[in-house]
């Protein structure tokens, strides 16, 4: 690139702000890229993954705000404003239109920003169920705390919210406070990942909460029914009530949530966690190609217009999770700054990790394989362990020696190792049971000295084996002190002193004829 590229980023959420950081890291002085970010939210780039942490009170708003770049990435002396991007930094404003022919974006305040490259990081918006009672009768009051779900029928009612933004989190917390004060409960509609994480966080704050989920088991996108059942029990133990297999039919303010089975769940507030959809309004308006999952992009994250890129939840490339978005940000930053013109985003292995204190749940790949063949007949290999009494369930699917799917509930050690194998496509160890349990099979029992082989190392500090100690004992060194003096065992860190003592005692027992005065014939 010969001249400085003007890059405009629309959206300053987790992925948009990450892109700014990745660009800044590669081009701290703006020599190659001049970056302008336009974000709708007044707070830039907060970490949505941490919203449950914010809800349960473990984190502050400051913690979920963007972090600084490492000092080693900043020039010395740092550029003014350090963390800011080059050039004007514009949050709290909105892009209303894109003029692709003129390569400008139009802002809500009427200004126009020219670009050489435009990046859409508009994220996703909550999907609202077609449920009566969710909306204010008088739409468009324009309140500051209006939730981010733009609706065709108007703003959400005052006791209903979604959870996408920091403003939503504040709103939910306010509802929770009110509910607590009145001894009432919060209903969470949707037993997927976000719904459960939010419910868990609220419960940790002491808020009474009930999750309502239309299908018979929780997290049905990720879990099989067995795992779903065990998860339900585990959550119940943590105080999270559930109404499963029944749909919601109506929200009635001051009463609660009416369910399809005819009952009413009394609740003072309703949290909607019923999915999200890519925010593609701007892209569609300016005529970009949009696929089923979002704005269509290629491996270079370029849309149908070569001057426009898209990434994160708004793009049709692994939306919904943070990790893919961050990896996309690195790829796009490498391209925008000219660091690597051929960088490609080739997909991120899909791993879902429920972030709920007291629950260890990891899902990866496709675990919905019930064809329990063996590795020999070329079919998938399926291993499953159920331990409902202890809230544990582990299911592992392999093709050959590659892990292709897993559900791991309550087996955190296994999860850590398996995710790494899955991420890298690395061959799985042959000890499948150890793989599933996360620990090598049975821990070695503390055997007595008699069970040790002669070559077993007793004193590592001085390379003294049991055989050497045995010989020394037979040559007359009978006390631990004598053994130490002869062999130097236990004269290093002293960690084997007990073993040497036991060995001396065992030798005295089992070889009584040695060391005693021989009897007269």
């Amino acid at each position: 690139m010969s001249r400085v590229q003007r890059v405009v980023v629309v959206g300053n959420g987790m992925v948009g702000s990450r892109l700014s950081e990745e660009v800044l890291r590669r081009d701290p002085l703006g020599a190659r890229v001049r970056l302008t970010v336009v974000g709708a939210e007044p707070v830039g780039g907060y970490n949505r993954v941490l919203l449950p942490g914010l809800l349960c009170g473990a984190l502050t708003e400051d913690d979920v705000a963007p972090g600084p770049l490492g000092p080693s990435h900043l020039p010395d002396p740092p550029v003014a404003g350090e963390i800011s991007v080059h050039g004007p930094f514009s949050t709290g404003s909105t892009v209303t239109a894109v003029d692709r022919a003129a390569r400008t974006v139009l802002l809500a305040d009427g200004r126009r920003l020219p670009y050489d490259r435009l990046v859409l990081a508009t994220g996703a918006r909550a999907v609202l169920p077609p449920l009566p009672g969710l909306h204010l009768d008088a739409p468009g009051t324009g309140a500051d705390d209006a939730p981010t779900a733009p609706t065709r029928t108007g703003a959400l009612a005052h006791d209903v919210t979604v959870l996408r933004t920091l403003a939503d989190a504040r709103r939910l917390l306010a509802l929770a406070h009110q509910a607590c004060a009145r001894g009432a409960r919060i209903a969470v509609l949707g037993g997927g990942v976000l719904g459960l994480e939010a419910a868990r966080a609220l419960a940790a704050r002491g808020v009474a909460v009930t999750v309502v989920h239309a299908t018979p088991h929780l997290m049905d996108q990720q879990l099989d029914p067995q795992a779903g059942r065990i998860l339900s029990r585990a959550l119940r133990r943590l105080g999270i009530e559930q109404r499963l297999g029944t749909a919601a039919v109506r929200w009635e303010a001051g009463v609660g949530l009416h369910l399809a089975d005819g009952t009413v769940l009394p609740a003072a507030g309703l949290l909607l966690c019923t999915g999200a959809r890519a925010e593609t309004t701007l892209a569609e308006t300016c005529g970009l190609a949009v696929g089923p999952g979002g704005i269509a992009v290629d491996e270079a994250l370029t849309t149908s217009d070569p001057a426009i890129h898209a990434l994160g939840d708004c793009a049709d490339a692994d939306p919904g999770l943070v990790q893919p978005g961050w990896e996309q940000a690195a790829v796009l930053a490498a391209r925008l700054t000219g660091e690597n013109d051929t960088a490609r985003y080739l997909g991120t292995p899909r791993v879902t990790r429920l972030k709920a204190a007291g629950i260890e749940l990891t899902c990866l790949g496709d675990p919905f394989v019930e064809d329990e063949g063996t590795a020999d007949d070329g079919g998938p290999e399926v291993l499953r362990i159920e331990d409902p009494a202890r809230d544990r369930y582990a299911k592992l699917v392999l093709h050959g020696d590659r892990v292709t799917g897993a559900i791991l509930l309550g087996v955190p050690d296994a999860a850590a190792g398996l995710v790494q194998l899955y991420d890298r496509g690395a061959p799985a160890p042959s000890d499948r049971l150890a793989l599933l349990l996360g620990r090598a099979l049975p821990p070695e029992t503390a055997d007595g000295p008699e069970a040790m082989p002669d070559r077993a190392m007793v004193c590592r500090c001085n390379s003294v084996t049991k055989g050497v100690l045995r010989s020394a004992w037979h040559e007359g060194a009978h006390t631990p002190q004598e053994l130490a003096a002869t062999t130097r065992a236990a004269t290093g860190c002293g960690g084997c002193r007990t073993t040497v003592e036991k060995l001396a005692a065992w030798l005295a027992e089992t070889a009584p004829e040695v060391g005693r005065t021989p009897r007269p014939p």
Binding site: N47, V49, L50, G53, A58, L59, D62, D63, V64, A65, P66, G67, P68, L69, G70, P71, S72, H73, Q323, V351, R353, K355, E360, P412, D413, A415, A416, G417, V419, Q420, D423, R424, A426, P427, P429, S430, D431, G438, A440, A446, R460, C461, N462, S463, R488, T491, G492, C493, G494, G495
Partner: protein, 715 residues
């Protein structure tokens, strides 16, 4: 000399106390452990057998000269050898400038020798080109410690403080093998060992109910931030004491808090492979302890992000309020025998005695006065160790090198390149007591005395200054390093008084030279060391110093640093914001495994000494590679078979050792072996931007049978 001599082990930084006693008939020295607060009468196999090398038939007892690049080394007299060296040095200086002659020192040298070597380089040779092998050991922790606390001393507290600790995190340190008697200071049930391998130390912890966190090689920075995140969100940092500590004794918490906020446990788990549940457990143990310590070793340091990695662990320690709190703390486990003292007295390319920065004007003026030179005559900063070795014999690099107490042909990264550069020199001089892989490349070899044949001072990992005492005279024909420097300096036209051959006047000058510096030895009086009094630097003056009559020796100098204030001007410690970044080289299709390197109990450093001790050689005779059985079988390797380990930089032959506890993605090689088994042929000289530490701990390799098709040529 007769009777027993109280001295210290020649090897690691624990400097275990020992007695040396000559046999009445042969004079052969025997070793006996000596009670001392650090080793408490313990010795490992290296210490027990340390005297054997003194009488090894492999000792060098006469100088050797090579009369031409292809000629063999021949015996020569001292006068001839020293004259030859100084003539060549002088020629090169005259024709190619003072920086054409370089010096490479060691963390094994006494304080006196380290000091004299630095002075020799800057005053007698006038070269800026001096660095030492300690750059490959402690430089990352030194840099991080200086940034965070304003001062770097391995342990800022006596090792005995560890006895009462309720939680000790050992990061990339394996003392059960590298300094076994230190293990006596830990309660293994309260250890949290961070190491990609289940080392002897990790196993000791696990057996006793302690914790072992096994991160993917090169990810411990993220692990530290993940632990900090957990400590933060689980409320461990909200105690009034910790809040007050951060407010009153530190700066920069808010920025670090944000760095940690991004490393939620599940993200940390995915990168590091350490279960989120284990993170929570470790954080709870650490935060719940009334007294706790975080100690880092080479495993944290030897990365191209070593400084930031250590900084992340220091951040965790500061968040928990450990440094400068009695009974708690952060420390670095120094490696080499005088790794501490060796980094204080001017062997580093950017440093002058007293741990002064070489660009510090006041320090330069002080040294100019002590050395009797003009300030502008003292050269500026030179190349760091790897950069120095990499430049040898090149157009702009040094044409001659003096090596003292080091074997860089084995211990430096990408060692094949180092050997090539040493070969490319016009003139290589090596002072050593046995032949090594480096002496084999030398034009002149100078036989020098060993530890039991000379006196001097060492500074152990606690910053305690120790007296090393001679137990016998060197063999005929052998000189001490100080005598060598004296002989060279005089022949280069300096006065003999400037470079005394005896350690006592050198130490006296070192005390003056360090006075007012960070590592101030002014108050370290020789009589205190003669009495084995516990003296810790900084010891600014000797007033009031002395042993308590009748009672146990009172600690002198500064046994515990930072109790009142940190060494920055404002008295506060600095939180250091850090970001995770990947290792310089990651596994790929061609090289799918991580290789990491380290030590084994029986050997020390390049093994030049310990491989010559029969008992140690018998216990650990040859290079091996630890590998998970599944990984080995995939490469067609049975336990005990010879494997070929291949990186982008070269190939190593090593015995396959099945270790079921290894991560399947990682192999381990000890680096003590030369030739085809030299692990550092594989290692990556990608440097840390601050400490210039090479990335010994992470390289990408593949494993294959040694009898597989012809190896691809390395470079």
């Amino acid at each position: 000399m007769t009777g027993e001599t109280a001295t210290h082990c020649p090897y690691c930084a624990l400097q275990c106390a020992m007695f040396l006693t000559p046999a009445p008939d042969t004079g052969q020295l025997t070793v006996a452990p000596r009670d001392f607060p650090t080793n408490r009468g313990g010795l490992c196999q290296k210490g027990w057998t340390s005297a054997e090398l003194l009488t090894s038939p492999e000792r060098l007892t006469t100088p050797l000269i090579r009369d031409g690049k292809d000629a063999p080394l021949r015996e020569a007299g001292w006068d001839e050898a020293l004259a030859h060296v100084t003539r060549r040095f002088a020629e090169l200086r005259a024709t190619r400038g003072p920086d054409s002659v370089a010096v490479f020192g060691s963390g094994g040298l006494t304080n006196e020798k380290a000091y004299a070597l630095g002075k020799f380089a800057r005053v007698a040779l006038g070269t800026s080109q001096i660095d030492y092998n300690g750059r490959f050991c402690m430089s990352s922790a030194a840099a991080a410690g200086n940034r965070a606390f304003g001062l770097d001393r391995g342990l800022p507290f006596p090792a005995t403080d560890l006895d009462d600790s309720e939680a000790v995190v050992l990061v990339g340190a394996n003392p059960a093998e590298t300094m076994p008697p230190l293990m006596g200071h830990f309660d293994p049930a309260r250890l949290i060992v961070v190491d990609p391998r289940r080392t002897a130390t990790a196993q000791t912890a696990l057996d006793a109910g302690g914790l072992h966190l096994a991160p993917t090689p090169g990810t411990d920075l993220a692990l530290a931030l993940g632990l900090l995140h957990v400590a933060l969100v689980e409320g461990h940092l909200d105690t009034p004491g910790r809040v007050a500590y951060r407010r009153d004794r530190t700066t920069g918490w808010e920025a670090v808090r944000k760095c940690a906020a991004r490393w939620w446990p599940e993200r940390t788990e995915r990168l590091t492979g350490v279960a989120a549940a284990d993170l929570r457990r470790a954080a709870a143990v650490l935060a719940g302890a009334r007294r706790a310590h975080i100690l880092t070793g080479r495993g944290a340091e030897q990365h191209s992000k070593g400084v930031d990695t250590v900084a992340a662990w220091i951040d965790l320690a500061l968040a928990l309020g450990l440094p400068g709190t009695p009974g708690s703390g952060y420390g670095c486990l120094t490696g080499q025998g005088n790794g501490q003292g060796g980094r204080e007295h001017g062997q580093k390319s950017d440093q002058l005695p007293g741990y002064r920065h070489i660009e510090d004007r006041a320090g330069r003026e002080h040294l100019a006065r002590v050395w009797g030179v003009r300030e502008e005559e003292i050269p500026g900063a030179g190349r760091s160790a790897w950069e120095l070795l990499d430049a040898l014999g090149t157009q702009d690099g040094p044409a001659a090198l003096l090596v003292m107490g080091s074997n860089p042909a084995v211990s430096a990264p990408r060692s094949r390149r180092v050997i090539e550069r040493l070969r490319g020199l016009d003139f290589l001089v090596v002072a050593d007591f046995v032949r090594s892989e480096t002496t084999e490349l030398a034009d002149v070899v100078l036989p020098v005395a060993m530890w039991a044949e000379e006196s001097g001072t060492m500074t152990n990992l606690e910053g305690r200054v120790l007296r090393r005492r001679a137990a016998k005279a060197p063999p005929p024909g052998v000189r001490t390093d100080l005598e060598v420097l004296h002989g060279l300096a005089v022949r280069l036209g300096r006065s003999g008084e400037e470079f005394p051959p005896d350690p006592a006047p050198v130490f006296a000058e070192l005390r003056r030279a360090s006075a007012g510096g960070v590592a101030d030895y002014a108050g370290v009086e020789p009589r205190l060391l003669d009495d084995d009094a516990p003296v810790y630097w900084p010891a600014r003056s000797a007033t009031g110093a002395g042993t308590r009559p009748g009672g146990p020796a009172a600690a002198l100098g500064t046994p515990r640093l930072f109790l009142d204030r940190f060494a920055h001007a404002d008295g506060r410690a600095r939180f250091l914001p850090v970001e995770y970044r990947e290792a310089a080289e990651l596994p790929d299709a061609e090289h799918p495994l991580y290789a990491t390197t380290g030590r084994q109990l029986e050997h020390y450093q390049s093994g030049a000494q310990t491989r010559r001790v029969p008992a140690l050689r018998a216990a650990a005779p040859q290079a091996y590679v630890e590998v998970h059985p599944d990984t080995a079988r995939r490469a067609g390797l049975a336990d005990g078979e010879e494997a070929r380990v291949v990186s982008r930089r070269g190939t190593v032959l090593a015995r396959t050792r099945y270790v079921a506890s290894m991560r399947p993605d990682t192999v381990f090689l000890p680096f003590h072996f030369p030739g085809t088994g030299a692990a550092n042929v594989l290692t990556n000289p990608a440097l840390d931007p601050v400490s210039r530490m090479p990335e010994f701990k992470v390289s990408a390799v593949r494993l294959e049978r040694a009898d597989a098709n012809a190896p691809k040529e390395g470079e």
